[in-house]
Symmetry: C2
Subunit: 442 residues, 2 copies
């Protein structure tokens, strides 16, 4: 993409109501624009990152055997009356009346609707297990929206729902999502720690939040420090086998959010291993048995010919919130530092003297070669000053910057800078291109 044709409205200063780094940086980098309290437009740069995060989530769900569908944003109030949650949900639910005075709501989550879809067609244990998920915009009418996309009102969530005949199957489905979550957050460069969590309005008795540690986290968390450094299992696990050992390895160590914190149990952790910090919730998984299937009559016939309510769980990832969490975990004074897996472009090219024939030719050659090799490139072909171009590239945080100026070109070299390490080196255009093309990202 040529910057001269792009739409990247960077700001010199963030508005004063942006209190945390990720909110400030997303506004300054031209990624989002507030359209109402807690409601944002995703500008082109922000949308590119959102799409990449969504795609990683999708790939890991598919790998774990979940099937994608897409439920609508609006739901019937009557559906929520079947579960009893319509009255219980409170003012965070956005309630809507249409032209025929029918009561609708903007879905904050989809347990009721997926149960309705399931009961409409699945009748036998032979069709189980099933895990159905979607990635859709949700709305929660937060009393005080803040921190940009971290606590917005209209937000993008991936929510998966599992269906099993019995508690043993439900536990296996829960474990599959537990392991898939370890992998998907890891692919985004995040250390997300699973912690015992309160089940809140979703319900059930088994629940984990996946927490990214960050000073600006909204809640206090307590865990064994080994959990933070534990590697994700990776894709080559036996998804339909027994994943319990992988889960136990994590749940054996103390980890709890504030609501579930047990000071006595925590003090049994050796003092040097105790970590008390602040965290950002990026995922939340629940096993809630028949909480919805029983009142909503989602029954399956077992091998014994008897009908039983299906065992369910639900599994959420805050897709739009993840941008904030990643930036909180990865930025410096100059701007964002994107992990390669979610960066909006792989490489930025800075033309230090736009209009200079040799510089233009070298930049064009680099742009074409990288694009042809499948790399995504943002080419700053504007007539801004070099200093302003450097500042913008650092702000938007692309992993690699190629700097092409008249002095270097005269000497036959270009400069390459790694945004994360700040390391710079000079080499011939061809060897810099070869290095970028061989790197795995992109």
């Amino acid at each position: 993409m040529r910057l001269s044709r792009y739409f990247l409205p960077v700001l010199k200063e963030a508005p004063s109501d942006a209190q945390i780094a990720s909110h400030q940086l997303m506004l300054r980098a031209g990624m989002i624009r507030q359209e109402a309290a807690g409601i944002y437009a995703w500008l082109p740069l922000g949308l590119r990152v959102l799409n990449r995060i969504e795609q990683i989530v999708r790939e890991e769900m598919d790998r774990a055997g979940a099937i994608e569908l897409l439920m609508p944003t609006l739901q019937l109030a009557d559906l929520w009356r079947e579960s009893g949650r319509y009255d219980a949900y409170g003012p965070e639910m956005l309630r809507i009346t249409d032209r025929h005075e029918r009561e609708l709501l903007y879905g904050p989550t989809n347990e009721e609707m997926i149960t309705e879809i399931f009961r409409g067609s699945v009748k036998s244990y032979k069709d189980l297990p099933k895990n159905l998920y979607h990635v859709q915009w949700k709305f929660r009418d937060e009393r005080r929206p803040r921190f940009g996309v971290m606590r917005g009102r209209e937000f993008l969530m991936k929510d998966a729902y599992s269906f099993d005949l019995d508690a043993d199957g439900a536990r296996k489905s829960y474990n599959r999502m537990f392991v898939a979550y370890l992998n998907l957050f890891s692919r985004m460069g995040l250390k997300a720690v699973p912690m015992r969590a309160d089940t809140g309005p979703i319900g059930g008795d088994l629940s984990h939040e996946f927490i990214v540690l960050a000073e600006t986290g909204e809640s206090a968390v307590f865990c064994h420090k080994d959990l933070v450094e534990m590697d994700a299992p990776g894709p080559d696990v036996d998804w339909y086998g027994d994943l319990q050992a992988l889960v136990d390895q994590r749940t054996a160590l103390y980890a709890a959010t504030e609501e579930m914190h047990d000071e006595a149990a925590f003090s049994a952790v050796p003092e040097g291993d105790r970590l008390s910090a602040r965290g950002i919730e990026v995922g939340h998984i629940f096993s809630f048995g028949t909480k919805y299937s029983e009142p909503m009559r989602a029954l399956v016939t077992g091998p014994d010919g008897k009908d039983v309510p299906v065992q369910m769980g639900s599994y959420g990832v805050g897709v739009s919130r993840l941008l904030g969490a990643i930036i909180e975990a990865s930025h410096d004074d100059a701007g964002i530092i994107w992990p390669e897996s979610v960066a909006p472009f792989d490489v930025g090219i800075i033309n230090m003297r736009q209009g200079d024939a040799a510089c233009d030719a070298a930049c064009e050659a680099a742009y074409k070669a990288l694009t042809a090799a499948g790399k995504t490139v943002l080419y700053d072909d504007t007539d801004a000053r070099g200093g302003a171009k450097f500042a913008t590239m650092d702000l938007i945080g692309l992993p690699w910057q190629m700097i092409i100026g008249p002095k270097g070109i005269a000497e036959g070299v270009v400069e390459i800078k790694n945004r994360a390490t700040g390391e710079r080196s000079t080499a011939s255009l061809d060897s810099v291109l070869a290095g970028l093309i061989q790197s795995k990202a992109g």
Copy 2:
């Protein structure tokens, strides 16, 4: 995808309120499920087609120089008061009040919001032309939703917005979208005819609808029959050059929707060339000058230093509606016939005797080989009877069916069927696979 693990709730009969073929077939093929009047869940098979159509639209927008962003579904009422449309829009606008009594609405279109985004950052003619688009769920509170996704309430639309300094630039932007639309509908196997159209609540004086001819079309249309057979220009046009000739070639011939129909002008068309038919609107483009930029003060500084309201146009494609239009144009008594470019899977494999070692092995080998070659495959590995498997495959309309049965395997052959032509042939597994892998689709 193995059907035994998929979620494909096909129905024997469509509900009686489904009046047209596309609505009936989408319900029967397990593509959609109604969640409220005019509000549908997209089941896995339907979502796959929706995603492919969306991706074709996106590629053609990008090719024509448009930049993707994503605006939220909910908008502030006050924004629509700036243009004067809040009161004018009528009962089709879904109006919402949040917990703090702020007035919101579920966006039926985005002229106001994109104008607000534009005026917030673009100030100079040097940044023009710009074309910004998004693909987002919209809501129009139709009095009588019907025909499935053809006239739903919550629907997916691609809407692009162009910004130019003057009328000449605006015309060029309009022409780029005109040509992009010819290409994108053509890629989906549709013959979409551009017709002079009424501008309705969007406004402006230049507007074309893109119409697919179908007996079940909602409105009467009139055109020169040559327009239906004219080929799309294809991707290799000079996008930043002069596209007027390509546009003139189409607009020189008579074509108008009912609202714009001029019987006298139509009767000047030679009688044998007159086509009066019914049509489905799949796209609608508008040039409306300063209708929004003037009241909303979206000004740009021209080369002469003077501020002028920016010239705008908007360009819609009914993404979810397109599924209905394609099915209306391409089905038979047995079911849907997907064009290869939008099919949910490229190939279906029918195992005629699940559990037979030789059949299972041949099916597995075919499934693996096709998947490894980048084809998408739905493998019917269930224990349903052969007749039921044939009926399902015909119903869901995948372009190719591979039929693998014990008799053929004993003779060293499998059967391949083309869904569109009904043509069947038998050959060795290897040669059938080689043929499928070499075909361009997928």
